[in-house]
């Protein structure tokens, strides 16, 4: 071994507590590093041992570190400066110390913090919407079929009842719907179905399997057929942009990001984690509603339908129920993390939808839909 020269003679010795590993008894020892890299103990509880034969725990803050002998005995010491210098002098490098170096400078901490904040911001604002869009469009058809079928089935079990509309009425709407699809060369797999909304009342839903369900109450609410077409265009917009799938994926990504960020933190109360999550989910949902509105608006203009029809039925809907008109099936899927018993879809829909109508503006951030006035205004302007 190389000869070791001590830059600081005070660091040639260190003190620590010696534990033999057979009992909880301890004795204080003085460690001395010889120029040959040998550790001598005083009292000599171990024969002189070369430093490289010891397992030395890496440094974490000022917490004590241990030097472990091959027979299981341990010396615990707080003389970090001495141990660091010994390791460097004997082995020439300081293995494992890079993390400690990162951990011990305020500048590195600040840098890491800024990086984390930027990364969270970027993933929330762009990353999650972008990647969920990408994945939603890449998923094979039969998976979306399965999800959609399951959602329709569960909604049928819990909320819907078969439609009471007359055969003639249904056929007329069905025809109009097919005409709409044909005129905008949308996917021909889409189907229109009718249900009684029950406690949901006037509403319309788009499911990932291409099924659009409109409730009898919604049909009854419309004064003109064009109003229903406007609603259907909005729902087709959801389907075309695969919103319910994107919602499922973005919610899962959000959950994964949350786990990654808070994984080891149990001290943080649940509200601390839940509140930002609700905010983000509502934000994504609003963006999708706006997208579907944009789709409906453009299609109505293209088909030379009066865009006022959308505004009219939205306003009537709000005056009648105080509840916004449409939900994507994604809202109604039991979330994977939720136990099955508590998955109560109607509660989720109504409570989320009610937020829109009743709460003052500072709670907009929690709303799953944009404000009805804003939505109506967009359609009035054209």
């Amino acid at each position: 071994m190389d000869q070791i020269t001590h830059s600081n003679p005070a660091l040639s010795t260190a003190i620590g507590n010696y534990f033999d590993g057979h009992s909880a008894a301890f004795s204080q020892v003085t460690l001395t590093l010889t120029p040959a890299g040998i550790i001598d103990l005083q009292p000599p509880l171990q024969p002189p041992t070369h430093l490289t034969k010891l397992i030395i725990s890496s440094r974490i803050g000022t917490s004590p570190r241990s030097l472990r002998f091959s027979d299981g005995a341990v010396i615990e010491t707080n003389d970090h400066a001495a141990i660091d210098q010994w390791q460097k002098a004997v082995t020439g490098n300081s293995r494992q110390q890079w993390i400690h170096r990162l951990e011990s400078r305020v500048a590195y901490g600040a840098g890491a913090l800024i990086f984390i904040i930027c990364l969270i911001g970027i993933s929330l604002i762009w990353g999650i919407p972008w990647s969920s869009n990408l994945i939603a469009h890449a998923l094979p058809g039969d998976i979306t079929e399965t999800i959609g079928d399951a959602s329709v089935e569960s909604m049928d079990q819990v909320i819907f009842k078969p439609s009471a509309l007359s055969q003639v009425q249904r056929q007329r709407l069905e025809q109009q719907f097919q005409q709409l699809l044909f005129e905008q060369s949308a996917n021909k797999g889409y189907q229109l179905e009718f249900r009684q909304g029950g406690i949901i009342g006037p509403n319309a839903f788009a499911f990932p399997n291409g099924v659009i369900i409109i409730t009898d109450e919604m049909v009854a609410l419309a004064e003109q057929e064009a109003e229903l077409l406007a609603i259907l265009l909005h729902e087709i917009g959801h389907l075309q942009q695969r919103h319910s799938l994107r919602q499922i994926i973005s919610h899962s990504s959000l959950a994964m990001l949350t786990t990654l960020l808070t994984g080891d933190i149990t001290a943080a109360g649940s509200l601390v984690v839940a509140a930002p999550n609700i905010l983000m989910k509502a934000g994504y949902s609003r963006d999708m509603e706006t997208e579907a509105d944009t789709y409906a608006l453009h299609q109505m203009q293209r088909l030379q339908l009066e865009t006022d029809h959308f505004a009219n039925i939205m306003e009537r809907l709000e005056s009648v129920t105080g509840v916004d008109h449409d939900q994507q099936s994604g809202d109604n899927k039991p979330q994977p993390e939720a136990p099955p018993v508590s998955a109560d879809p109607d509660k989720i829909t109504t409570s989320e939808a009610k937020l829109d109508a009743e709460l003052p503006t500072w709670l907009d951030f929690f709303a799953s839909h944009p404000l009805t006035q804003e939505r109506v205004a967009r359609f009035r302007q054209h």
Partner: protein
């Protein structure tokens, strides 16, 4: 006394004289903050791989700064083992959530499998945690077989699964009934029947939980007895010395405190709303005043829950740890619920206002308080020796096959 003292110095102190040994926590917020943020950064950059190392470093910091009688604790877990465990758990969670989304019945089966695995996971995780904790170079241990856990928890698990199954089955029946009512559209009282089916849907899970509630203190008692009675420090085995009655008392008292706290919070908020209405009743926009009063009420009720949670945690910790012995050493736990509640409440507020930046500070604060309220009454710790079947070579112990999962102990 003074006269007696003259004779004593020549004789050694009595063997059985016990001392009170103090727990102390020396972690510092800024130091821990830097460790926390750098490890979080590395975990994110490595897409979670580094999180196992981050966990070990964090635990080592927390253990290393917890001292009893001046000596610190040591966390010895191997990050690679933790990483493997995390891969397994992550895979299971992915499968579980996929199953719920695509094949709910498969999700149900996975849920049942998960419940059936719980005793094994409890044993494995506790064993991992105990064996990787050491103090004065003697390891803690958790010596029991999986089968013991299954023998103990078989009946409670069977009852829970049975009740869940019955509840699930009943719900299915009710749904079918609701559908059938729906198809018979001509029936005039279909609305009434729907109302019945909806209440049944809420009623069945409620009854299910109500049946379970009386057993919760007993389950908690069983679990803690199991965990502590099978633990040891060196050769000194641990024992929980408290009766099932004290667990029932804890839960009943907590329920009482909850009732009182929420009643007070509601009374206060009603008074507040009345006051606000009396003062500002003439203002043109009563809605926004109602909102503000509502928000304050919600805040009051939410705050009162911290009091309840602080009470429960403090009392439960005192009950469990305060009645635990290791060999002839007794733990003394004297947490004050007012302190715990206050720390929980102010930590949550601080974390929210700082957008999470004060998480490390809040952890240091809680750890410092818990350590300050904990003591060990012991004769001579030095007499404790290593467990008989403890491998002296602490590293490379092939027996540590279990993986790490964080379940609250």
């Amino acid at each position: 006394m003074a006269a007696a003292a003259e004779f004593i110095p020549t004789t050694p102190p009595p063997v059985n004289q016990s001392r009170l040994l103090k727990f102390e926590f020396h972690g510092r917020a800024l130091e821990f903050f830097k460790i926390w943020v750098v490890n979080l950064f590395l975990s994110i950059v490595t897409l979670g791989i580094f999180s196992a190392w981050a966990k070990v470093r964090t635990q080592r910091y927390l253990y290393g700064n917890t001292r009893l009688d001046g000596h610190s604790f040591t966390y010895l877990a191997d990050p690679v083992t933790i990483l493997k465990g995390r891969f397994i758990a992550f895979g299971f969670l992915i499968g579980y959530s996929l199953a719920w989304n695509f094949y709910p019945s498969a999700g149900m089966i996975l849920l049942v499998v998960g419940v059936l695995l719980l005793p094994a996971i409890l044993v494995a995780a506790t064993r991992f945690k105990m064996r990787n904790s050491s103090y004065r170079n003697l390891r803690f241990g958790f010596d029991t077989q999986f089968s013991a856990a299954y023998r103990l928890f078989a009946l409670p698990m069977f009852i829970i699964l049975l009740l869940t199954g019955v509840c699930y089955g009943l719900l299915q029946l009710v749904d079918l009934d609701a559908m059938m009512v729906g198809f018979q559209e001509l029936e005039t009282d279909s609305d009434a029947k729907q109302a019945v089916s909806l209440t049944a849907e809420q009623l069945i899970p409620t009854i299910f939980y109500l049946i379970l509630v009386p057993f919760i203190p007993y389950l908690d008692y069983l679990r803690n007895h199991f965990l502590i009675d099978n633990s040891r420090y060196g050769h000194a085995s641990a024992q929980l010395k408290c009766s099932v009655g004290s667990f029932y008392e804890l839960y009943l008292m907590s329920f009482l405190v909850m009732t009182v706290a929420i009643t007070i919070a509601i009374t206060l908020s009603i008074g507040l709303v009345a006051l606000v209405t009396a003062l500002f009743g003439s203002v043109e926009n009563p809605d926004s005043i109602g909102m503000v009063a509502g928000a304050i009420s919600a805040f009051l009720i939410y705050s009162s829950l911290f009091l309840v949670s602080g009470y429960f945690r403090a009392r439960r910790t005192n009950l469990i740890y305060g009645n635990s012995i290791f060999g002839d050493s007794e733990l003394i736990s004297e947490l004050k619920f007012t302190q715990v509640s206050w720390i929980l409440f102010s930590n949550t507020v601080a974390i929210m206002l700082s957008l999470g930046l004060l998480i490390p500070w809040s952890r240091m604060r809680m750890a410092r308080y818990i350590a300050s309220a904990t003591q060990l009454k012991s004769t001579d710790l030095a007499l404790i020796t290593a467990g008989s079947h403890e491998s002296q070579n602490a590293l490379g112990d092939g027996m540590i096959d279990a993986f790490d999962l964080d379940i609250g102990l």
